[in-house]
């Protein structure tokens, strides 16, 4: 598909020859500019899939392409990683320099960006994540959410087309989580950056364009958030839980309350209940 940034075609992956498959026969295509959330319990294969999507791992079977480039072809590796950046879980493991600005510069030096181009790129990236005022600060004095935003700026400075977030909010407090997710939503909306958002917080997936649920290495559910989160039994089978509001809406409908299907957020719920009062 020409308009897909990521394509996975019958992809399987095992960590070594005798190991069970961590990803099994996954076929997926992500169009440019979309926000896709990937959910699943620990060990479901979602992090492995993320690493297959920017060539950190290459498939045991099947093909992964990023912007049309096969991840197995080694000459594509650097270009793929530049175009599809990755942000990990632990903010403390991702920052390397003693000043925020230098940290963002780190990746640029690695890919040989001309020195005179660097300040502009760094500043644009820091502005995009709302961290420009911290450019001269020491990263270790920042909050978790701020550190993650600096890590995102480091990826953004490479001018990627997509960013893959591998549970990048798992270690943050609610305020940090909101900060990071809002920054990412903005990048997706305003800059058209494709986002792969791997998480086990259901609430973080309710505004995604598409949601994929992984279980035992396979994609077992795929659809718009409304389609996925209203299938409560199926989610429970995969040891996931619908967001509290979705569950409450379903129970109320069952009791006869005429709420429309697919309520996921407190805002939607309040809106609909108010109409009935």
């Amino acid at each position: 598909m020409a308009d897909a940034i990521f394509t996975l075609d019958h992809v399987s992956f095992a960590y070594d020859e005798d190991a069970p498959l961590a990803v099994r026969d996954v076929t997926l295509s992500v169009p440019f500019g979309e926000f896709h959330a990937v959910l699943g319990r620990n060990g479901s294969g979602k992090s492995t899939m993320a690493k297959l999507m920017n060539g950190l791992y290459t498939p045991t079977e099947g093909t992964v392409t990023v912007c049309g480039m096969d991840t197995r072809d080694e000459k594509n590796t650097w270009e793929i990683r530049r175009r599809a950046g990755m942000v990990f879980q632990n903010p403390d493991n991702q920052l390397v320099a003693t000043v925020v600005r230098e940290d963002v510069a780190f990746g640029l030096e690695n890919i040989g960006v001309p020195t005179e181009e660097m300040p502009g790129r760094i500043e644009r990236a820091l502005v995009d994540v709302g961290m420009m005022e911290y450019a001269e600060r020491a990263p270790h004095l920042l909050s978790g959410g701020q550190k993650q935003r600096v890590a995102i700026a480091g990826v953004l400075a490479m001018e990627p087309e997509a960013i893959i977030f591998d549970e990048s909010t798992a270690m943050l407090d609610p305020r940090g989580r909101r900060e990071v997710l809002n920054a990412v939503k903005r990048l997706n909306r305003d800059k058209g950056i494709t986002v792969i958002w791997i998480t086990h917080f259901m609430e973080e997936a309710v505004e995604a364009d598409r949601v994929h649920v992984m279980h035992d290495g396979q994609i077992v559910m795929s659809g718009m958030p409304r389609e996925v989160f209203t299938q409560e039994e199926k989610l429970r089978e995969y040891r996931l839980d619908a967001p509290v509001t979705a569950r409450l809406a379903r129970r109320l409908r069952k009791a006869g309350m005429p709420l429309p299907e697919g309520i996921l957020t407190p805002e939607e719920m309040a809106e609909e209940v108010a109409k009935l009062c």
């Binding site: 609610p174 940090g176 409450l248 109320l252 407190p266 009935l276």
Partner: protein
């Protein structure tokens, strides 16, 4: 046993350029058998406070009293205090280090100088309580376990000391939904068996479900204190402090903002179910479509 923090202030590195006061004039009683939640965003001092409860940190000012005795006074047995008050740090699995799960859980009891058969009994009991009962699991390396299992193994190490008070710093952080729920059920079960629980949590839904009492910290001081229903009645204030409110609490706030007479007593899912159904039935009675 009754633990009381009496006007406790803690300043890190006093007198140095890095001097920072983490908690300021905190007075708090931890009542036997209660389930107390400590809430506040990162940096509010709640972890510093937690480490005063078992004497790991010493107050710069004020006192920590156990059944009326100052724990930092000469002659007070810190050893017994550390046994009686089990502290489970954030991401406790990072502290697993032994070759086998058994040895890791046995570490604390062994330090108490217990006999080998007593150690074995305690380890088995602790593993059973946290649900690590698969055959052979005790002889595995802790690093072969899944994330959720590692967390439970670390927890077993604390339970093997048979503490009367458990202080847990975000015990469910980073776990997937099912492991989270298992962990919370385990804590709730320990509480129902008589263990006093102090739990630091960012999840207001968890606080609403489990806590008898909640303390909200802001900038090193206690900002609010009370039963969850009292705390969550002040949803706007919590939000202004950068904290979440339970999702159903938020529904209530939004409805009241729209002029709907939604009760304030709504912070758990079951309460919301009843309240919203009642609102709809009331609306129907008044002929609203």
């Amino acid at each position: 046993m009754l633990i009381r923090l009496d006007h406790v202030t803690h300043t890190y590195q006093p007198g140095s350029p890095f001097q920072a006061t983490a908690i300021r004039d905190v007075t708090l009683e931890i009542r036997p058998g209660e389930f107390l939640a400590l809430i506040g965003h990162t940096g509010c001092g709640k972890s510093t406070l937690a480490q005063h409860i078992n004497g790991l940190l010493k107050p710069t000012e004020g006192r920590v009293l156990l059944d009326g005795k100052d724990i930092h006074e000469k002659g007070f047995s810190k050893k017994e205090l550390r046994r009686a008050v089990g502290l489970v740090f954030q991401y406790p699995e990072h502290q697993l280090f032994e070759e086998t799960v058994f040895k890791d859980v046995a570490f604390g009891p062994r330090n108490l100088g217990l006999a080998e058969n007593e150690i074995k009994e305690r380890v088995e009991e602790a593993l059973e309580r946290v649900g690590l009962t698969d055959p052979g699991i005790a002889e595995k390396s802790p690093f072969e376990l899944s994330g959720g299992q590692m967390r439970r193994a670390a927890m077993a190490g604390v339970l093997a000391m048979r503490p009367e008070v458990l202080v847990l710093d975000e015990p469910a952080a980073g776990l997937d939904p099912q492991s989270r729920e298992d962990m919370l059920q385990l804590i709730s079960h320990l509480h129902s068996q008589g263990t006093t629980v102090v739990m630091i949590s960012h999840s207001m839904d968890d606080v609403a479900r489990f806590a008898d009492r909640a303390v909200v910290m802001e900038k090193g001081a206690i900002a609010m204190e009370g039963a969850p229903e009292e705390i969550f009645r002040h949803g706007e204030r919590l939000e202004s402090m950068g904290l979440d409110v339970p999702s159903v609490c938020r529904i209530g706030m939004l409805l009241r903002g729209k002029g709907v007479a939604c009760p304030e007593e709504m912070f758990r899912e079951d309460q919301a179910y009843d309240a919203l159904l009642a609102l709809w039935k009331g609306g129907k009675a008044h002929g609203v479509q």
